[in-house]
């Protein structure tokens, strides 16, 4: 199998951090906040590495778009088993449409046979880039994947849907977006972290790709949601039921 798997990864505010809205309402505070790889992207990296380990793929290439600091998620991807990495350098924040334009250029240049990425980034919660990329490439998509099997030039994807699971069979090349249950990502061992430092990391200036990265959305404001008030503690289930009936009038 000679298939190359491209794994786009994103550097985001760590999932354990409770973000704060910036005082001027322009966004959220990211200064001095712990950053890490988007958790769904870790699942995508793991799946791509497993495909290579099973012999279904030849090479796993991680790609991210961002400032120099975004290199750290590429090193993490390589410590997990990606063979090499590409940093598409920009200081701008890109929308999914623009990200998809960049990824299309990279996937085409790399002649990727499969793009495997997280279904959603936990910062903008868009859940859109994989689908947009698939459309722009003219490839089929297997979104919200919980199982992936590559065989005979096709990929079979089990997808999480509202009432259960759906299985689709796609021609390759294709785009897959990873959902929670697809796998449990490995921890990068210290020797693998050391090895990852020596793996190739190429930097590409975003302008050199010649793609449209303009934003179509203007952020008018970012605000805190209204807080709920902390309620009361009750001492027994009987008291709870009483309160729900007479006070909250909900049952």
């Amino acid at each position: 199998m000679t298939m190359k798997v491209l794994v786009p990864v994103k550097r985001v505010v760590d999932y354990n951090v409770k973000v704060r809205v910036a005082a001027d309402g322009s966004g959220v505070e990211t200064q001095g906040v712990k950053m890490s790889m988007n958790p769904f992207d870790e699942i995508a990296v793991e799946e791509a590495v497993r495909l290579r380990e099973k012999g279904a793929a030849k090479e796993v290439v991680a790609v991210t778009i961002g400032a120099q600091a975004a290199q750290d998620v590429l090193r993490t991807a390589m410590a997990m088993g990606a063979d090499r990495a590409i940093l598409v350098r920009t200081d701008d924040t890109l929308e999914p449409r623009a990200v998809a334009n960049v990824l299309k250029a990279i996937a085409t240049r790399e002649e990727a046979g499969l793009v495997c990425m997280g279904k959603q980034a936990i910062d903008d919660d868009m859940n859109a880039t994989g689908q947009i990329l698939a459309a722009k490439l003219g490839w089929p998509q297997g979104t919200f994947a919980s199982a992936v099997t590559v065989a005979d030039g096709r990929v079979e994807v089990a997808r999480e849907i509202d009432g259960g699971t759906e299985v689709v069979s796609l021609t390759l090349p294709a785009v897959i977006t990873a959902d929670l249950r697809l796998n449990e990502p490995r921890y990068a061992s210290l020797p693998n972290i050391m090895k990852a430092r020596k793996k190739p990391l190429e930097t590409v200036e975003i302008d050199s790709l010649g793609v449209d990265t303009a934003s179509r959305l203007t952020v008018v404001s970012v605000a805190e949601p209204s807080e709920r008030k902390e309620g009361i503690k009750v001492n027994s289930a009987a008291e709870l039921v009483e309160k729900l009936k007479t006070e909250a009038k909900v049952i």
């Binding site: 959220v28 919660d125 880039t129 698939a134 849907i161 689709v168 929670l180 959305l217 970012v222 709920r228």
Partner: protein, 301 residues
């Protein structure tokens, strides 16, 4: 301006989340609906819908042919709208890719025809965004828009041919058999977390759910631990619910779980740890061992 709404029909009835999408789309002007597979009659009965595009041949909602079909019709519409369901989130961003527009997912408020509010960072912030695209592609969070009624309308139905799908083939679907209401439209939801300890213990929620006609949900930690299937997951990366009553059992209240349920009208938390963050959002809390509290609750109901 006319909006086109992707309406999902299940067992002959329009899904509540789609009825909310129709309500949201009505804010822009006239509303056409498109139905893939059977169910055009149910969509035609929705108040506010003037025309239904029926595509009976596309029974499986595959993203590739449905997005192609929507793209071919898009020029007639100012807004293309769907529920933020698994189907909507699969198809609409692909459509946006075909149209080269930036989709606007999970809209919770419509300010005007171009300006929308959507949660980011697991609902810890609300972003108001203005779109410069000529066609807006939106998914609507059902819990934030009162659905239109299921009956009362009389739209015309136009049947259209389906494009072929060669790159993507439907293999099978496995739906969880359940007589309970859907999570997103249930009046009462009872959810278990990691404190349930194992999958078998989730059964303890059932008699209470039966008495309250509740849907059963789970935290991501419970799903991760294999206690419950993913379709039961409530949270940032699962389902977003806003029932009248939400009962959280043995779940700590991680940020990403709160993102999926904090708009519930009344929240009850049952947890052994008095410091659990779930109590910060709960109207009523019981600090105690859920294995003692649940049987008592069942008896008290």
């Amino acid at each position: 301006m006319t909006a086109l709404v992707l309406v999902e029909v299940e067992n002959g009835a329009v899904r509540q989340a789609s009825r909310s999408a129709v309500a949201a789309a009505s804010r822009f002007g006239a509303v056409d609906a498109i139905v893939f597979g059977d169910g055009a009659e149910a969509a035609a009965a929705l108040p506010g819908v003037t025309r239904v595009l029926s595509v009976p041949a596309l029974v499986n909602d595959l993203a590739e042919p449905t997005a192609d079909l929507l793209a071919a019709r898009a020029k007639d519409y100012s807004h293309i709208v769907a529920a933020a369901s698994a189907t909507g989130k699969n198809i609409l961003p692909r459509l946006a890719g075909l149209l080269d527009v930036q989709p606007i997912p999970d809209v919770v408020e419509i300010k005007d025809a171009d300006t929308f509010v959507r949660p980011i960072y697991a609902g810890n912030a609300l972003a108001t965004v203005r779109s410069s695209d000529s066609i807006k592609v939106l998914t609507i969070r059902g819990s934030n828009f009162d659905p239109v009624a299921a009956e009362g309308g009389s739209a015309t139905i136009e049947t259209i041919e389906a494009p072929a799908s060669e790159k993507s083939v439907f293999v099978k679907v496995e739906l969880s058999a359940s007589d309970r209401p859907e999570l997103e439209s249930a009046r009462v939801v009872i959810s278990g977390g990691k404190g349930m300890k194992d999958a078998a213990n989730f059964k303890l929620l059932e008699p209470i759910a039966d008495k309250l006609n509740a849907a059963i949900g789970a935290s991501r930690a419970a799903v991760d631990s294999g206690f419950a299937p993913n379709e039961m997951q409530v949270g940032q990366t699962g389902k977003i619910v806003a029932p009248e009553l939400y009962i959280a059992v043995g779940l700590s209240g991680a940020i990403q779980h709160l993102a999926g349920m904090k708009d519930s009208r009344v929240i009850v938390a049952i947890n052994a740890d008095p410091e659990a963050p779930i109590f910060k959002v709960a109207d009523y809390g019981i600090v105690g061992d859920l294995f003692e509290v649940l049987p008592e609750l069942e008896k008290a109901l």
